[in-house]
Symmetry: C2
Subunit: 337 residues, 2 copies
């Protein structure tokens, strides 16, 4: 075992688009577990859109990540040294363990992952925060019902791809919006979306969504915001629900983009728009994960990962994800299993 | 009794702000009630923001008013000739009887108004559509609760002034936004709002609302939209609810105004925004009106009307209401009671 721990630190706060200069690869001494703690060797770490918000100085719903400290993020690893009888050496664990090769953690910071259930990396994606976000967004916020029409933006991303698939499982007609022909083919061919279009090849989203969803939109699962969401809003049906899950088109702007004021449409359609965070459903993760794992095992939920190798490439993976270079969940492999 | 009926017709569709030229005063023959119908002599008619939408060619939630026909609107009058045993001559009735001096109506188009309950003109305001809009907006859409902080825009208007008062009755802290010092005084002195400000004297609504509601905003009853609502959205608390009742700042624009994209705030605060129409609650008007009438009788709900005289002045009253010249409900007196 190495005697040093490589970490990626946040060293400056971006204005506008982040760059690799906001991060630094730092070698620190190998941490030593105290009584009740374990030492985890990381296998995978996660890059997610919400991390952009945590890089800001001003807190939103969670505290900002302090400067000159390791980037906080979900990771999955293996216990290599244990001073806690609940975690055997060799056990797979997950938690907010950050962008680093090793971490020390107490029992309240980690949970055990069952490697026989699914590949352990799925704990960062379809069987982790992104999958749960899709699940609660669809079932709780959208109150999705069989026979309804679901539109998903960011549909080839970690959350959107699961949201669309759950929509199909629930018996909805599912349309997706994603960037690039390859993602569209994946949505249609592999995930069995009913319809999809490439937003990069379109400017009139209102017309394109109208063509995509001739019956209108009952539920809109929004990951992106901006002009695509304007087009969606102008196509909603009466009593439509809109789940605001993410607004990635806006995350790297210094100040809010200007867009047309369209909220009168909510009156005309008696529609509801609601923002949510998956953390608010934490008490119900257990049964939700059981259901999701069942769908994964039955082949009804397909997981795809875009894997980047090497802790040193985590910033690049994060930036690529923000540009939409991933299909499905973007993860970084820190060490081979 | 006159042998002619003066009506106000819609003769052209406005682009942008309507003007008196969109209307024409027309003399038509006195209508004659058929079997089962009554002839109503109008006492009051109503000018409401939603009529602007009905002047458009493109339908929204209800059909447009046809050109070269009488403007449709709520009116209150008295039966002067009856061929229906359910309506005695002299009875007060209300319905969508339009901007005209006389109308013929069947029993499904009118309802009886009890003049001992409150002045009959209140059937156009506090005990009519605007009052019911406030009631259901507050109780159903906002799910308003005692101890919460309510912010109302358009607070001195027909709907807003009732919404704020119901908020007080329910035990909320109520802040209002209206145009002009006189309206602010009315909100604070007569309607007992806890706080209020004049939007015409402000440009930084975000800061002004923050000062007005130091505890943040739990419920926002929105009648206006635009920059005021941007300021409100940036002051909401976690789990806030926003009722989109009207967007009068936008009704006279040829195309949507541009404004900052702020929907990420709904995620941060896990907030809900919902549009509604009072017509969707029609089956529950009865008990709601009973409750409202009780509050009016007990002096807990105060009604104020801005009254313009003469059918020929109805377009002017409508335009004045769009400019905010009314305090409380703007009505037109067509004939003396």
């Amino acid at each position: 075992m190495s005697d040093c721990n490589r970490q990626v630190w946040l060293v400056s706060r971006p204005t506008g688009w982040p760059s690799e200069e906001n991060f630094r690869l730092v070698e620190t001494p190998m941490p030593v577990p105290g009584e009740g703690q374990v030492l985890v060797r990381m296998l995978y770490t996660s890059v997610d859109p919400y991390l952009r918000g945590r890089m800001r100085e001003r807190a939103s719903y969670i505290d900002p990540i302090p400067l000159d400290s390791v980037m906080q993020a979900s990771s999955v690893g293996r216990v290599v040294q244990s001073r806690n009888p609940k975690f055997a050496e060799g056990a797979y664990v997950g938690g907010m363990l950050g962008w680093q090769e090793y971490a020390v953690a107490g029992e309240r910071e980690i949970r055990t992952i069952d490697p026989t259930l699914a590949p352990v990396s799925t704990a960062l994606g379809i069987l982790g925060m992104p999958g749960l976000t899709a699940y609660f967004g669809l079932t709780e916020i959208l109150q999705a019902k069989a026979g309804e029409i679901l539109l998903v933006s960011g549909a080839a991303g970690a959350v959107g791809s699961v949201a669309g698939q759950i929509g199909k499982i629930l018996g909805m007609r599912v349309a997706g919006i994603a960037g690039g022909e390859a993602k569209i083919r994946w949505l249609l061919d592999d995930l069995k979306f009913d319809a999809a279009y490439d937003y990069q090849a379109e400017s009139d989203h209102r017309a394109r969504i109208a063509a995509l969803c001739p019956g209108g939109v009952d539920c809109y699962f929004d990951n992106v915001g901006g002009a695509i969401s304007d087009g969606a809003l102008l196509n909603i049906n009466e009593r439509a629900r809109i789940a605001i899950c993410g607004q990635i088109s806006q995350y790297n702007l210094d100040k809010p983009e200007m867009g047309p004021r369209l909220l009168f449409q909510l009156i005309v359609k008696r529609a509801r728009m609601e923002g949510f965070l998956v953390f608010d459903f934490a008490k119900r993760y257990g049964p939700a994960l059981t259901q999701m794992a069942e769908w994964v095992r039955a082949g009804r939920l397909i997981s795809r990962e875009t894997v980047i190798d090497g802790i040193e490439n985590t910033p690049r993976a994060f930036l690529g994800m923000m540009r939409g270079e991933n299909t499905g969940k973007m993860i970084v492999r820190i060490a081979a299993e």
